[in-house]
């Protein structure tokens, strides 16, 4: 187990370097003058250009720039924005809300998706099965921003059940509707995945054995069936948590949530390369670690899987 974790961590290093380098190149090696439009209509003051070039090592090649940046990053220094704010502080201010939103979204999609999946997987063909299949089709087809606007208009403005926008404190109650919007697409995938997985395992030998032993139905479903069907669903939920922590740009924009998605969107448009690379690097680390943890959880759920 320990050796497996170590090997996986070592495998993460080239992927991490590759991904961050890719992002660094895409953000910094953009063709055109990096100072264009930064000082309003006039061209920038030569002293300012010289200071900036020196500060961000812009006169070096992109490889040298990248490794200097990586060196700072490993010491916990995310760098500064052009206006002199520490990127680390910006992230610390914005990230908690995004994590909160992602957790709510994954919780909602897990509860509703798994419940719908179990219901249809156990019952087999019938009215409920078709109903769930059709609703998942619709959830998959409606883009997130349409769902967001519709729920905002209907439940936020017309009915007034939920607040239409999120205040700067972002309480849990305010984040329920945005969380639902964010998780709605994955909810459909979770319920389909659970349904397929359960329908497959329902006919397995261990189920017949459990039934023959005369175990109560609750135990057969709750322990034998669910635990064996959980792996693909858990993999999906883990990947999704990693994705949602960085992919909430649209939802955050619609509901005015002060999270990391809005920060990164603004920084990309304002060419704040330091902020973009800093945030994306953080998101990539989170994504890779979440996937590693999910891999390790397999052994807990299914003791037949061993890491040697």
């Amino acid at each position: 187990m320990g050796r497996y974790v170590l090997r996986r961590l070592l495998q993460l290093i080239p992927v991490f370097v590759g991904t961050t380098f890719l992002i660094y190149v895409m953000v910094w090696a953009v063709p055109g003058d990096p100072f264009a439009g930064m000082c309003g209509e006039r061209p920038c003051n030569p002293a300012f250009v010289a200071m900036m070039t020196d500060k961000y090592n812009m006169d070096e090649t992109v490889f040298v720039q990248y490794f200097l940046y990586l060196g700072n990053l490993l010491q916990g220094d995310f760098g500064e924005t052009f206006s002199g704010l520490a990127v680390g502080d910006l992230i610390a201010l914005r990230y908690p809300v995004s994590i909160q939103l992602a957790v709510i979204a994954v919780a909602i999609e897990a509860v509703i998706g798994i419940a719908a999946g179990i219901l249809t997987g156990l019952r087999g063909r019938g009215f409920v099965d078709n109903l769930v299949l059709v609703s998942t089709l619709f959830l998959i087809s409606i883009p997130t921003f349409v769902t967001g606007f519709l729920l905002q208009i209907v439940f936020g403005l017309e009915l007034g059940w939920f607040p239409a926008t999120v205040s700067s404190e972002a309480t849990w109650g305010e984040l329920i509707m945005p969380g639902f919007v964010l998780g709605s697409l994955s909810m459909a995938y979770v319920s389909r995945l659970t349904r397929t997985s359960i329908a497959e395992n329902r006919r397995a030998d261990f189920m017949r054995t459990a039934l023959a032993k005369g175990q109560p139905k609750r135990r057969i479903v709750g322990v034998h069936l669910l635990r064996n069907s959980a792996i693909p669903v858990l993999t999906f939920l883990g990947t999704d948590l990693g994705n949602l922590m960085g992919g909430a740009i649209v939802t955050e924009g619609i509901f005015g949530i002060p999270g990391i998605g809005g920060l990164i969107y603004d920084s990309i448009l304002n060419k704040e390369g330091v902020t973009v690379t800093g945030v994306v690097v953080l998101l990539v680390i989170v994504f890779l670690l979440v996937n590693l943890i999910i891999d390790l959880l397999y052994a807990v759920l299914d003791p037949r899987i061993r890491y040697d």
Binding site: S141, T144, F145, V146, F149, G246
Partner: protein, 320 residues
């Protein structure tokens, strides 16, 4: 209206099967032989209502995309501020937008761009993913290790963020013809999504490599090139084809999301996403600006997802 569509569908369906039977070696037409995966799947698909509905919608959309002038006589770019934000009437089926442009006409002409992005990105993704996946699966070892790490690098990029960064980098290069805009979005989408296609193809290739027909071909002295593209490719095609159909629908939705963020398509290529993006500041006073393009978008994506579902069920009976 209905008859030609159905006839066209039956016709295209027929050629679809022949092409694939041909790829399969042409051995399926004779009686007494076991039916191939493809003809079996086709026989199954023809009886599915979901498949028929989805293909009718998609064929209709293709006709609209190619000949938009058949469906509306209004000029999609004609502006008249006096009719700004008017609700649907007999003159304009979907009403007018903020600039007083006919929403129905704009939606009809927008079909072309939305479909182009979806089809283009799906084709590119599948071609890149299939070639790399086949090479990784066939050669294995160091080649596989290297290609898989490269795929992981791209897989680790968050999708929407990656697309925004790529498109933003292109934006400063000053492209503004409609076709170039479409190609930019297609490139960004396929660059970020080929790793999944590659993994699907790779696992199919690894299992195909163990089969007797590949060993036989190698024993007869066939080159690696010939084994990969003549023998393994036709047998590994099913899973990736299913993935491509579902992907096509989601690419159309992703394009809309990117255009909504103001970073996907823009003015000469007015897709449904661009229309929704233009409407977003007026949703409280004039929801029809948002609802009509969003509705068409949803129906289109729904059709492709339904088609993908039906094809998957037909090609992979285990999941039924």
């Amino acid at each position: 209206m209905t008859d030609p569509t159905i006839a066209a569908q039956a016709d295209s369906g027929g050629s679809y099967v022949t092409a694939l039977e041909h790829a399969d070696g042409g051995g399926t037409g004779k009686k007494g032989k076991p039916r191939s995966l493809w003809s079996d799947a086709w026989g199954d698909l023809r009886r599915r209502p979901l498949f028929i509905i989805a293909s009718v919608i998609i064929l209709f959309l293709i006709v609209v995309a190619v000949f938009p002038e058949w469906f509306t006589s209004a000029d999609p770019n004609h502006r008249d501020l006096s009719r700004s934000r008017q609700t649907p009437s007999s003159d304009a089926l979907f009403g007018y937008d903020v600039q007083g442009q006919d929403i129905f006409a704009r939606a009809v002409y927008g079909t072309r761009w939305s479909l182009l992005v979806g089809v283009g990105a799906a084709v590119f993704t599948v071609v890149i993913g299939a070639v790399i996946g086949l090479l990784a699966g066939y050669f294995g070892g160091a080649v596989d290790g290297f290609l898989s790490r490269v795929a992981e690098v791209f897989f680790g990029l968050p999708f929407v963020l990656g697309a925004i960064i790529i498109l933003n980098a292109f934006r400063s290069s000053g492209v503004d013809s409609a076709f170039a805009l479409v190609m930019m979005v297609v490139f960004a989408l396929s660059l970020l999504s080929w790793p999944v296609a590659m993994r699907i193809m790779r696992s199919a290739a690894i299992s195909a490599k163990q089969q007797d027909y590949v060993k036989a071909a190698r024993a007869l002295g066939a080159s690696a090139w010939r084994i990969i593209f003549r023998h393994m490719l036709p047998n590994c095609l099913a899973p990736i084809l299913v993935y491509a159909t579902i992907l096509l629908g989601s690419f159309i939705a992703v394009e809309a999301t990117l255009s909504f963020l103001g970073i996907g398509l823009r003015d000469p290529a007015v897709s449904w996403g661009v229309m929704i993006s233009d409407a977003r500041n007026y949703i409280r006073v004039a929801p029809h600006l948002l609802l009509f393009p969003a509705g068409i978008l949803t129906i289109t994506v729904l059709a492709f997802v339904m088609l993908g579902d039906a094809v998957r069920d037909a090609l992979d009976p285990k999941l039924r």
